[in-house]
Structure formats: C-alpha cells, structure tokens
C-alpha cells in the first residue's frame, strides 16, 4: 500500500537529503552579506575621505587646529582652530540636555504609566501621544530653527536679562555686551526641544520593558504610582535611560541648521550663555561653507572629522549601554 502511494505521486523511493545551499541561496546570502559589509565600508570611507581631504588643514595648523581660537583660513598666515567650536558644541549640548532630560523623562513616564489608553472612550490618547512624539522627531530642523529665531528668541531675551541681572554673579549668566539675542541659551533650548522626542521614545521603550510581576507585586503591597516609578520602573530602566541620554547628547552635538540660524559666530572661547555670540562645530561648517577658499574648505572638513569621531564614540558607548539594559530587562 505504502509503496503504491509513493509510486502514485511519482516520488522516488530513495530521497537524498542535501544540506548544501543552492546557487540562488548562495547568491542571496552573498547579496545580503555584501549589503551588511557595505555599511561597514561606508563608515570606513567616511573616516578615510574626511581624513584625506583635511590633510591640508592639519598640515597648515598641526595640532593647533584643536587649540586655536580664531578662524582665518585665508591670507598669508592662515590661522584657524576648533577650540571654541568644541567648547561651544559641548555647552549647547549640556544646555540642551538640561532642557530635554526632565521633560522627556516626564513625558515618557506619562505615556507609559499615567495616560489612559482611551480618552472619553473613543480618542486613542496613548497612540495619539506616541504619534505626536514621532512627528516631533520628523519635523525638519530648519522649521525648529525658524521657530526658535522668530518666536522663541523674543520671549527668551527677557528671561535672559532677568538671569543676568539677578544671577549674573555666578559668571555663567553674566552679560557683558548688553545684547541678549543669538545666545547659547536660546540655541541650547531649541536643540533641547529637538532632542526631546528621541530621548522620550527611547525611554518609553525601556520603561515598557519593566517586568509586570514586580510591578504588580509592589502594587499589591499598596504602593502609590510614585513608589512604583521610584522602586520598580527606574531601577530596571536606569541603564536604558543613561543610554538614551547619551544618544540625545550625540544628536545635540551634531545639530547644525537650528544652531546656525540662531547663533552669531564668535571665535573666542566663552562660557557666558546669556549673551550674543557663540560657536559650534556643526554650525561652523554650515555657516562658513563656501567662504575661505580651498584651505577653508579643508579646515571645515577637518572640523567635520572631529565631529564624526566624537559622535561615533558617544553613539557606540550609548548603543552598548541601551542594548545591555534591554537584555537585562528581558
């Protein structure tokens, strides 16, 4: 009987099972593999070509490129460096994180712990909030910059004046020029607003991985929501939150257009955040592009290389922390 059915279907009795990949499969795997290796190649090429093109700049200035606080790539004795741009980038990123971290954490907690799934039983409130956060991440930086320049700046100057009048003694808020526009504080605030959606969505993801068993256990002991957040959600999400903040930092360091619109370039190193004038690597490249001849372009590419290396290091560490925390939560 059995042999009959086998014959019926015309299947040979001895079926050889091969584990060898067919030609198509090998081609497919090769294609996917080459795409994977392609990303690696792109990363290497970015570093390599920026290095090659910035050789004239480094040859001209040597390591003073990292310490000079002027930008004169033209003329007989060109002198330029990214010292003030580096400190400026860091200053903007720090202000941005001070603005972004509390708001992002609060918003992520609100979406995860407090927001009702449905508002008035028909508005999908939670999904709506998540979509709004995603949309904020997709809004072009040029629009953030324009809004910051035309709307936020006039409102910020009064606050800056107040800061420099009453807290100017600390040094950071001192204003020696009497001009409050185009300052680090305004640029940092805008960059902070731009970082919020990234930090929020990452934190939300990490918060949602909190194990339900622990959460319910603490709830059954009569804990309030504040206690749940403090004793269950935060301990589990600590690593992920730190990683999210570092990714936000990388983003803040690299923001060019919004900063370029708001800040007015000045090259001496300054920590006076509430007065006009500042600098950042990305904004420097965006503003100075096309001026300064071939040496100037080479100098800007060298600045781009510095930015690339810094953000790459920060992002690698951050992604490692996030992944470790996600695995730990699971």
């Amino acid at each position: 009987m059995v042999t009959q059915t086998v014959e019926q279907f015309g299947i040979p009795e001895k079926v050889q099972i091969k584990s060898k990949l067919s030609f198509e499969d090998r081609a497919f795997r090769g294609l996917a593999k080459s795409a994977g290796i392609g990303t690696f190649v792109i990363l290497v090429l970015i570093g390599l070509f920026l290095l090659i093109e910035s050789v004239p700049a480094f040859r001209s200035q040597g390591l003073h490129f990292l310490t000079n606080t002027v930008w004169q790539p033209t003329g007989k004795h060109p002198k330029f460096g990214v010292a003030s741009a580096l400190t400026g980038s860091l200053l903007i990123a720090v202000i941005a994180l001070i603005v972004a971290i509390p708001v992002s954490l609060a918003c992520a907690l609100f979406i995860n712990e407090f927001a009702p799934a449905k508002l008035m039983s028909f508005i999908p409130f939670k999904n709506f909030l998540t979509a709004a956060v995603d949309l904020m991440a997709a809004v072009p930086s040029i629009i953030y910059g324009m809004w910051g320049f035309f709307v936020l700046q006039p409102h910020m100057t009064g606050f800056e004046k107040w800061l420099s009048d009453y807290l100017g003694g600390f040094g950071v808020f001192k204003n020696t020029t009497g001009i409050y526009t185009s300052s680090f504080l305004i640029a940092g605030t805008i960059v902070g607003i731009m970082c919020m959606p990234i930090i929020t969505s990452l934190c939300r993801e990490v918060f949602s991985l909190t194990p339900n068993g622990e959460r319910e256990g603490v709830m059954s002991l009569g804990a309030s929501r504040a206690r749940i957040i403090r004793d269950v959600v935060f301990p589990f999400a600590k690593g992920g939150v730190i990683g999210a903040i570092m990714l936000g930092l990388g983003r803040a360091l690299g923001e060019a257009i919004a900063v370029a619109i708001i800040i007015s370039l000045s090259f001496p190193i300054t920590f006076h955040v509430a007065q006009a004038g500042g600098n950042s690597i990305a904004a420097l490249i965006a503003i100075q592009w096309g001026s300064g001849g071939s040496l100037g372009t080479s100098a800007l590419l060298a600045a781009g290389l510095v930015l690339f290396i810094i953000t790459l290091l920060i992002n690698m560490v951050a992604s490692r922390i996030v992944n470790a925390s996600k695995l730990g939560a699971r």
């Binding site: 990949l21 067919s22 499969d25 081609a27 497919f28 795997r29 996917a32 593999k33 795409a35 994977g36 990303t39 690696f40 792109i42 990363l43 090429l45 970015i46 093109e53 708001v103 954490l105 609060a106 918003c107 609100f110 979406i111 407090f114 909030l129 998540t130 979509a131 709004a132 956060v133 949309l135 997709a138 809004v139 072009p140 930086s141 953030y144 324009m146 809004w147 709307v151 009064g158 606050f159 004046k161 919020m196 309030s224 929501r225 504040a226 990388g250 983003r251 690299g254 060019a256 257009i257 490249i285 965006a286 592009w289 690339f308 953000t311 790459l312 992002n315 690698m316 992604s319 490692r320």
Partner: protein, 413 residues
Amino acid sequence: MAETIEQLEQEEACLEADAESEAPEQIKINRIRPREFKPSDVAVLLLTLASSFSILWIVFSQLTLLNGALGFVVLWIPLFLGLYWFVNRQLFTRQVAIDRLISSVVTLGAGIMMLPLVLLTIFVFERGLPLLSWHALTSTQQGVTFTGKHTNLGGVEHAIVGTLEQVAIAAVIGIPAAILTAIFINEVGGRFTKSVRVIVTAMSGTPAIVAGVFIYSIWVTRFSYSGFAGSLALAVILLPTVTRGTEEVLKIVHNDLREASIALAAPQWRTVWSVVLPTARSGLITSTMLGIAVSIGETAPLIMTIFGNQVMNANPFSGPQMALSLLAYKQIKLPIQSQIDLGYTAALVLFIMVFAVFVLARLFGSGRRSSGARRSLLSFVRWTPGSSLEDEAADQGGVEGLQKSLEKEELDQ
C-alpha cells in the same frame, strides 16, 4: 524590681487604653487612597495654581520689574510644584503629597513636550498660509524683482522639483540597501552580524552634516555640485535609520513561519521573499516612510552637495539644484521681508510634505500592527501559526498553495 514591673504594667495598660480609644477612629482616618481625586482635591489644585500665580506675579512684576512671559512660566512651574506639595503635605500624608507631586510633574512634562509641536504648527501655517498661492508654487526665483512697477517675488517650484527628485533617488538607493542589511542582520547572520548592528546603530546617530561633508569629499570634489550628490548624502542618512526600523520589524516575525517554510523545502531566499517580508509588510512600509519623512527635511547635508540654484534645474545629474529646506534656510537670512516670506512659503510646503508622508506611514503601520502581521500574511501566503478552527480552511489552502508553487518551480527547472 517590683516597682519597675508595676510601672511597666501601668504603661502597658495605658497603651492598651489608648489603642482601644483610637482604634475606631484610625480605621476611619486611614481610608485615604493615594490615587483618589475628589472634587475637594480639584479645588486644592486650582487654589494652589492661583496662589502660586499671584505670589509670582507680585515678585515678578512688582518687585523685580521684569517682562517676558517665558521667564514667568519657567519660574511659575517650580513654585507651583513646591506649593502643591506643601499643601498636600499639610492636608494629607507624606505619601499622598509625593504621589500628587510626581503626578503633576509628569503630566506637566507631557504638556510641555506637546507645546512646541502645537506652537510650531501654528507658526508655520500662520506665516506661510497667507503667502501660498498658485503663482508661488509654479514659479522659480528667476527674475525676482522687488522694486519698481512689476514686482515678482518668486516661487518655490524649482525647490519642490529638487526635493522630490533628490528624495526619490535617495530612496531608490538607500531603501533596498537598508532592507538587505536588515535581512543580513536578522535572517542570514554570520560572523559580522554583531559588528554590523553596532555600526548601523552608531551610524544612525552620526550628524547629518557629516554625511554632507563626506559626500563632498568623495563625490563633489571629483565631479561637481548636483542633485545626485544630495541624493547620495540623503541615502547615507536614510540607510541606518531604515535598517534599524526594518530590523525591529523582522525581529517580530514569528519563527514558526520560517520553520514551516523551510519544512516545505523552500530555499532561504524564497522564505525571506514570500514569507518573512510579506508578514512584515506594514511595519516595513512604516519604517521606510518614516525614514523618507526625515530625509525630506534634511538641510545641513544639502549645503555642500546640491549648493542651491535660483532657476529651474530638473536634471539631478548635472549642475546645482535647489531643495525646499535649503531654500528656506537661505531665504530667512536675507534682509528683505519679501524674500523672508518666500522662506516661509518653502517651510510650509516642506512641513505639509513631511506631515503627509508621516500620516501615510502611520496609516499603513500602527493601529493594525497587532493584527497586521496576520492579515498581510493571510493575503500573501494564507498560513497562520497555531491555527484556530476558523483559520483552518485558509490554512490548508495556504500550505497547499505554497507547496504547489514550489512544485511548479521544480517542474520549470
């Protein structure tokens, strides 16, 4: 000794008496739930808001003589929170006070988060909408004059064409590469999987302007400024973003499906092509659309790749082109109001384009995400894991269908 024992007994008796007298009251008082929110609590909240407002108003405008609404709000928030905590601490227990404080902080945070989005949208439409006209959409900046009898304020047509071409080419280059990379990480695997994943994550955080200077150094220095150079820069930005999104989606695809396909002797490319990718279809569309939405708005990398152009250049492969974001960036730096207005028009068109792509991505993706994997699978392969009774009919047809198509292929060979 006897005295002390007596004393102790007396104290115990006292304590017991206390406990007895307090016991019924305690039950009444302790019925406070930290999450309860009665009308009286609403009143407390409103009164605290009002009192913190008035205190700050006196300090702010009467004592320090200061204007600026933003500073007022910035100082109002901590003052309100402090006061609210204090009031609840006085009225209820410490626990209630802390819980209410945290709740209001978190709710405020979400509100502050949404505020810029609302204000941005209002800003873009308020400034851009009055300037939007057929003329503005269908003319370029060629022959712009703002003095004399015939004023021609120019339009954004060349920028719209540029943006569409650049993003389309970037998508054609970037998205297949990104999906292949995600397939490599998730489906094919191998020695480099882990390092490729780390690199993709690191690249997705690389500033956009670095992509711009990279394409300048590798492409523009050898050829020239062109729309295609801009597309390359956008593709470099698109690649890691879409790869990460796709990888997340592929991860969700049930392993049973892959195993079932392999059990039917389907080769791996066939498994990926007709089982994994169709299952992840809605998620794939969402992640690619989100990547496109972000790349439409990029400005920084275009400065050093497409350079900008005042006249129409529909050929992306030769000569400088314009893009909406770059036009807005260049225009708002100009000192003439009518030219800044052109920047507003460009920003509005850009915003609408990004929003449209974003909404499309959402429509394809979320909402159906829970059942989306199943539904799209049913329409393509008609096979579900752990099939229930209702699915059985479709189930059988599906497996048979796949089997038949595989047999047919063998016959063809």
